[in-house]
Symmetry: C2
């Protein structure tokens, strides 16, 4: 039995990523120096460690040996490695170092290694589920809370590059579909080389983030959003484009004026859009975006879910939240409906209110939305729009061929016939997705019987779906105004695994568990 995987090549590239992570770490370090409220030691330690470990790993092998197989290993290992190293600032800030006092006040939950790993994995996978009970500057320094936001922005950028430039090379993640699109946002058509593609996407991602920050901060200057200062504008810019959902405000976007919520909606919508199509639109080819069948389906779904929720909120029982009453108020109903529909469908996970206050109908609509997901090639998670679209079209075909058993009718997407292998792959992905959801639900449902808190089946299922789909908040105790800290450590570790495997389109992680991957 010979090992057929040049794991040293994968390790070397993980090392390169760790080495480069020292650059973004300079930002929270700068913030820590500026505010002087703690965290300098935490970031200096992490920078030194990340650089040393990264350089050591880099020397293990030659990245030129990277084939498809090594690619799977590298992708899976990268998200694990950055989540472990990225947890160090939380731990150092909570416990201090010999001769250096802790930066975080003693009540913080981030001093536990499991909690710190959960929060970092939730960051880098752009999930946004949190174990922080008290999100405030009283407890955490400005540097630490910005690092939390930044992990999502970095994770989101990684995901865009992964989804558009790397996974298609490995024939994973709906890549076959993107190729089938006409005019398709496939790798070859976009730019000739991965590095160039990555740079283009990086530019679009950073540019849109900058525009959002400027707009949010502009609202503050115009007097429309008193609490949306520069820090908050940057912090939310970081987590919108990543469909991340972390907020330094304990009550998420409910803490801000209605106009802030309206401004964030189109950016969440963009974040859930295929970045290759955004890049094409930015370079003049808007037809590529508006003619894309996934984009049209995606916006149709968003409009439908928004309309459903708006109707329920408008006619439902009177609800009153921080930014005003809802029932019977048209703007307010529409705003919260659009905000929550777009936030959950794109898997951002921001909240403009605690939807646990909604009636049963609204909650079930939102629960289904947890499974929908953004577009392929976006930072959005969950099952993703293109898969649902293909499944719907394939089911329609199945009904037709039941009546006409001899008919040969391909499934068409964007005018082209889809390869049957791609359709099969989509069914397989969706099946594995729900198998993981069910297995996770059973594990968590049984595991939480060990703690005093009682969770309803809906709370358990929503928590599992929200971590596997990188959505973030579930319902009730694990909802947008709740947190995951009270769960048993074993449940939290399982969810770390769900966020990780869900973020990486499942298969690249699952194949690592097969013997065929290592030896055949």
């Amino acid at each position: 039995m010979t090992l057929r995987v040049t794991w040293r090549a994968s390790a070397s590239l993980v090392g390169t990523v760790l080495k480069w992570m020292t650059v973004p770490l300079l930002l929270p370090l700068g913030v820590a120096l500026y505010y002087g409220d703690g965290g300098i030691a935490a970031f200096v330690t992490t920078i030194a460690l990340s650089f040393t470990v990264g350089a050591a790993l880099e020397r293990l092998g030659d990245p030129a040996d990277l084939g498809a197989r090594e690619g799977f290993l590298m992708v899976a290992a990268t998200w694990l490695a950055v989540s472990i190293v990225g947890a160090i600032p939380y731990l150092v800030a909570a416990h201090g170092l010999p001769g250096i006092a802790a930066a975080t006040s003693p009540g913080s939950t981030l001093g536990s290694p499991v909690n710190a790993l959960f929060e970092t994995m939730s960051g880098f996978t752009t999930t946004g589920a949190t174990v922080m009970g008290d999100i405030s500057f009283d407890q955490h320094s400005h540097g630490i809370l910005l690092w939390r936001q930044l992990t999502q922005w970095l994770g989101g950028m990684g995901i865009v590059v992964l989804a558009v430039a790397i996974l298609p090379e490995l024939s994973v993640g709906g890549a076959q579909l993107m190729d089938a699109e006409a005019p398709g946002p496939s790798l070859e058509k976009l730019t000739p080389r991965i590095a160039e593609t990555a740079r283009a996407l990086w530019l679009a991602y950073a540019g849109i983030t900058a525009v959002e920050i400027v707009l949010l901060y502009g609202l503050h200057h115009g007097g429309f959003a008193p609490n949306m200062g520069l820090y908050n504008a940057v912090a939310h810019g970081f987590t919108t484009m990543a469909t991340g959902g972390f907020s330094p405000e304990a009550r998420s976007i409910e803490a801000f004026a209605g106009v802030v919520q309206w401004v964030i909606v189109p950016f969440m919508l963009l974040a859930g859009t295929n970045f290759a199509l955004i890049w094409q639109a930015l370079t003049g080819d808007t037809d590529a975006l508006f003619g894309d069948s996934e984009f049209r389906f995606y916006t149709g779904v968003l409009a439908t879910v928004t309309a459903l929720i708006a109707g329920l909120l408008f006619t439902g029982p009177t609800l009153d939240v921080v930014v005003g009453p809802i029932a019977g108020e048209l703007e307010s109903s529409l705003r919260h409906a659009a905000f929550q529909a777009v936030s959950i469908v794109t898997t951002t996970g921001y909240a403009s209110m605690d939807f646990a206050e909604w009636g049963a109908a609204g909650q079930y609509v939102l629960f289904i939305a947890i499974f929908l997901g953004g577009s392929a090639g976006s930072t959005g998670g969950a099952v993703k729009m293109v898969r649902w679209l293909v499944i719907l079209k394939s089911l329609k075909r199945e009904l037709f061929t039941t009546v006409h058993p001899e008919a040969v009718r391909p499934v068409r997407l964007g005018g082209r016939a889809l390869d049957e292998t791609a359709i099969r792959g989509i069914y397989a992905f969706t099946a594995v997705y729900f198998v993981l959801f069910v297995a996770g639900t059973i594990f968590v449902a049984v595991d939480v019987t060990r703690i005093p808190e009682t969770l309803s089946a809906l709370e358990v299922m929503s928590a599992v779906a929200a971590t596997l789909g990188n959505v973030g908040p579930g319902f009730g105790a694990v909802g947008p105004m709740g947190f995951y800290e009270f769960l048993p450590a074993s449940t939290k570790l399982a969810m770390v695994g769900l966020m990780w495997i869900g973020r990486l389109e499942i298969l690249p992680v699952l194949v690592l568990l097969t013997r065929a991957y290592w030896t055949s």
Copy 2:
């Protein structure tokens, strides 16, 4: 737009079925005459009506015009027609006729047309969900309660004929898979003509039912089961082979001695087995049965679920039911585990105890089991074993081709490569199944907010899964010791639809809703 369906041919065959239904109706009529506790008028009326309507329908068209398309319509219309006509005894018994007193005591819930239709559809689809709050001879006559049992036996026989002889002709219901089996229990191999096949299956079905009745009544005679008299033996024989689950005892099989539970287990196992294979085994070819990959998978699943539940019951909190304590008792743990595992997986729905008393782990295992289902070609419902087996094999293949993108590797079942179209059809079926489950859950969850009772998410989901999968009891209020009567009429009607569509392998009913079916 021309109609392309010769609906008169379908209607004619439905008429023939209604005409023939008068024959089994003679049995409860005889029982009513024997016991003299009411129901004679109910059955005489129904016999007259069924014969008249049947004869009228029969004249509408020529059954020789029946093609595949007319087959779908005939199958769907048959189950609807017998459920409507079969509800008449309940209604007449509850309300009486001019000059004839009611046979059922006034407190009965079966006087409501929605409830009567629910109970009859639940019978003919072998679901076993009940709206009868008080199942006792104090309230209902022996004839009426036997008719309830008999609807299941007739429905089960119809399903066997449908699954083995009719649906394969329409290329529905895993028929492609049965053809792929070697040695396959396909229609052609079994007997040359549908009528002969149907007769063979009928014989096996009736013969095994008779053996079970004799065994159960034998236990009574031997003094092992005082309350398993002839009436009860026949009543339970009728609903075991049908995987029906109705019982004239309010506490289901919990009402009987442990030995009765042990005797029923192998008959439920047989009821969930492909009847074509049973027929082959009975005629000497036991290798066909024991070498069949679905049968091996099926028994493996049953053994696994039994072992899991037995472990949980043995080590769990102390439970005490009618037939004795469980925790720490080996025989008792094994018996209840085997009984409930086999009962739920085969979709029989009998209960040896209220599993709402189990811990979370046991309940979740059982909840998953609601979706498993019996074998193709059996009276069992839900998704069915062969589909899960093919999905598992296909997912394994998907992992392999992720590592080896260029590899061509067919999915094998019983030594033969499966057609990719068949695999796709299985994914499509399973997807539609879960779409219906989710849509049903949302509808019911919202609908039940109109009644004073509060249902948990698990109760709602289990009720929807138990009706769609023709399992019968869900959890808690709709569990084996509960009933469906308190639900809103709209929910009960939706469940009538779920039982109907679920029983007929979904697609034959869904195609009726497409335009292609009627006109293209």
